[in-house]
């Protein structure tokens, strides 16, 4: 090599790389400066530990191989893998090849990129043929991914996506540059090979073909210019387009391994998550608001885009069911729900007044089981009375905390982004629970349970009634007979995706009934649309969604639909299409009672 290996066409590429690195590094330094001290401390403490190695492993698996993406959609996974892993290998093997050839540790950064132009005869180099073959193979690998990318843009349905993301100015430049990089590389290498016959199976054949048609001698330099320019354009536009996700995701993976977590406020961690969104479009079809009600802008792909571009995202922030289907499917693992709630908080009126001064200390009583029905359960009295029957059958002592009504758990307020108000309710309930000192705390409402698990500090086994029933069944405290019903089970969002309780209700239902599978269940279950997470959705829209969910749930024509959330029950029962029962009601109706009186501690003046 030496001083000869230079041609002016390397400039666009080199300037692009330098510009990109400067932009990315300065952006990262600015970002890190604003990071809270505690988070910086975590990064510092974790850096020289095994965590870094685990993070590197995940970067390899996710940023290069796109494992999670493969699991979500194999074709899309392959497409992303060709671009990421294929290009990575092209750079890596290109570097090795050029270093082996030059025999020098130190190479100019552009040398491997334009290696085929500078070197026409590699004879004498170790493994010469292997490298030539490998580089052509890798180029073909990336080109196959490019073909899929083109299909995705023109007809996304072929790749299993009904809808895909929109492209905006900065993205369009970057996207076209990215698309052109590999065909231009193929053309440049082929033309060079057409003149010097140095290429492998792909470039040599293609080069000979071009040689037949065009005067290749004159085209060599222009072709390399074109290749260098598209590379430069891509690198310059990367920090301003969605391709910023490539470096951002790597940083995010490291941050996660060092123990950084999303907080309640829209902070720097959230920003990193935001930039990590590749806008792959996987979340779009999963969002029921987008797929059923044509609210195109709601899925995180679009929502994050609005935040990044500083467009008004209020409507997008509030009009979301918080069902968690997008978070479940997200191949990057972005906490989409947290970001939605954080944004809501930004729009809410912040006030530091004392909230709910009318909440005075409630009555408390010690018992083995503390039962919190929750607001929604008070509207489905069947669940309440069933739970009382079940508690009595277990023979354990229990105290019904909100038998005569109590304060809300705070979760609806939390989901609306009004954290101060939610905190006041949490403190009120926390005080009562602390004084009750239960062994097990049971709640009938998954919405409350999520709040208890996340916002409260409770020194008791905290469980939903379906988990409680399962536990009592396993401990032989209650005995159940088969109801003879064929049922389908609807996973409530908060219980399933929210708290990962999938198996307990199913175990109970297998004992009680003939449980029918449904098309979308567990992680992929649909939302009933009654969600308290959304304030904007109108009632007809909710009914429409509930009906779509019921269509799916009633496919097997079950005798009854069983759910484990009072709000789901009310929403699904609203359309009168089938009998909707809560798991507790089904259990209470099929209890085999032993006739042993229980030590019931019930508050007096029960008047419902």
């Amino acid at each position: 090599m030496g001083a000869i290996a230079f041609h002016p066409f390397v400039l666009p590429f080199s300037i692009g790389v330098v510009f990109m690195l400067t932009a990315l590094i300065s952006r990262f330094i600015l970002w890190k400066k604003k990071l809270p001290f505690a988070d910086n401390e975590k990064i510092r403490n974790g850096f020289f530990t095994v965590k870094t190695l685990y993070a590197l492993k995940e970067v390899f698996r996710e940023s290069l191989l796109h494992r999670r993406m493969h699991r979500v959609n194999p074709l899309l996974g392959y497409m992303h893998m060709t671009f990421a892993f294929g290009w990575f290998l092209l750079i890596l093997i290109g570097n090795i090849e050029s270093r082996l050839y030059s025999g020098s540790e130190f190479n100019l950064p552009y040398y491997p990129i334009f290696f085929q132009y500078f070197v026409h005869d590699k004879t004498g180099m170790p493994l010469e043929k292997v490298f030539t073959y490998l580089m052509d193979m890798l180029l073909l690998f990336v080109l196959s991914g490019l073909a899929l990318a083109l299909i995705k843009r023109t007809n996304s349905r072929l790749l299993g996506l009904k809808r895909t993301t929109n492209i905006h100015k900065g993205d369009r430049i970057a996207l076209f540059a990215l698309w052109l990089i590999f065909p231009f590389r193929l053309i440049a290498e082929s033309i060079t090979s057409g003149v010097y016959h140095q290429g492998g199976f792909l470039t040599d054949t293609f080069g000979k073909f071009i040689d037949e048609l065009l005067p290749v001698d004159q085209l060599v330099v222009p072709a390399w210019w074109a290749y260098s320019i598209v590379l430069g354009v891509f690198f310059v536009s990367l920090p301003f387009s969605r391709y910023l996700h490539i470096p951002a995701e790597i940083v995010l993976i490291f941050l996660r391994h060092y123990g950084l977590k999303p907080s309640k406020k829209f902070d720097h961690f959230s920003q990193m998550e935001l930039f990590s969104c590749p806008r792959c479009g996987v979340c779009i079809d999963k969002c029921q608001l987008a797929s059923e009600l044509n609210m195109e802008q709601i899925p995180p792909g679009h929502f994050f885009h609005s935040i990044r571009d500083h467009r008004d995202d209020k409507e997008q922030a509030f009009n979301c069911l918080l069902c968690g289907r997008c978070e479940e499917i997200c191949p990057v693992g972005i906490n989409t729900l947290d970001i939605r709630v954080q944004r809501r908080h930004e729009f809410q009126v912040q006030d530091n007044k004392i909230q709910f001064p009318y909440l005075v200390d409630g009555k408390a009583q010690h018992a083995e089981i503390l039962y919190f029905a929750g607001c929604m359960t008070h509207l489905t009295p069947g669940i309440k009375s069933s739970m009382i029957r079940i508690f009595e059958a277990t023979g354990l002592s229990y105290y019904f905390m909100d038998e005569q009504g109590g304060a809300c758990c705070g979760r609806p307020m939390q989901m609306a982004g009004r954290f101060n108000e939610a905190k006041a309710m949490v403190e009120h309930n926390q005080n009562i629970i602390d004084r009750c000192r239960p062994v097990i705390m049971v709640t009938s409402c998954p919405i409350c349970l999520k709040s208890f698990k996340e916002e409260y500090i409770i020194n008791a086994q905290l469980m939903h009634h379906s988990e409680f029933i399962n536990l009592m069944m396993e401990k032989n405290k209650i005995n159940l007979k088969h109801s003879g019903l064929r049922v389908s089970y609807h996973d409530p969002c908060e219980l399933g995706r929210g708290l990962k309780v999938y198996n307990e209700p199913r175990k109970v239902l297998h004992q009680l009934s003939d449980l029918q599978p449904v098309q979308l269940e567990a992680h992929f279950s649909l939302c009933c649309a009654g969600s308290l997470g959304n304030t904007v959705l109108t009632n007809p829209q909710r009914n429409e969604l509930a009906n779509r969910t019921l269509d799916m749930l009633l496919e097997n024509d079950p005798d009854a639909l069983v759910t484990a959330c009072p709000l789901c029950k009310k929403t699904l029962a609203g359309s009168n299409r089938c009998e909707v029962i809560d798991i507790a009601e089904l259990v209470a109706a099929n209890l085999i009672l032993k006739g042993e009186p229980s030590r019931v501690l019930r508050t007096p003046m029960y008047s419902h």
């Binding site: 109590g406 304060a407 304030t535 109108t538």
Partner: protein, 107 residues
């Protein structure tokens, strides 16, 4: 004025026509379902906050409709946002959004 040792009461007549109903109009545009409210009071009877205070969504909607805006801002802040009112509403009024919109426009 001669002091007779007593005063007459202030006039307590409310002239609705003179009230400023702009808040209701904004509310109407942001949450149209407030229009179909029949002020039956089911929301108030099921209300979680209603157990602790005199808070009544029905009262709030009636007052805003009439343009009587005293204490409304303090009142709506008592709401716990639990959503029971929305489930029981026979007219499917989007009650939670009414509170949300009111909090935004009154602050």
């Amino acid at each position: 004025m001669i002091n007779f040792g007593y005063t007459s009461n202030k006039d307590r007549q409310i002239v609705f026509d003179e009230n400023d109903r702009s808040v209701y109009q904004i509310l109407q545009s942001k949450e149209p379902s407030v229009d179909i409210c029949i002020q039956c009071g089911t929301c108030s009877s099921t209300c979680t906050t209603g157990q602790f205070t005199q808070f009544s969504l029905r009262q709030i909607i009636v007052n805003i409709h009439r343009g009587e805006m005293d204490f409304i801002n303090e009142d709506i802040r008592k709401c716990m946002f639990c959503g029971k009112c929305q489930l029981v509403c026979p007219r499917s009024v989007n009650t939670r959004n009414i509170i949300q919109v009111l909090i935004t426009i009154l602050n």
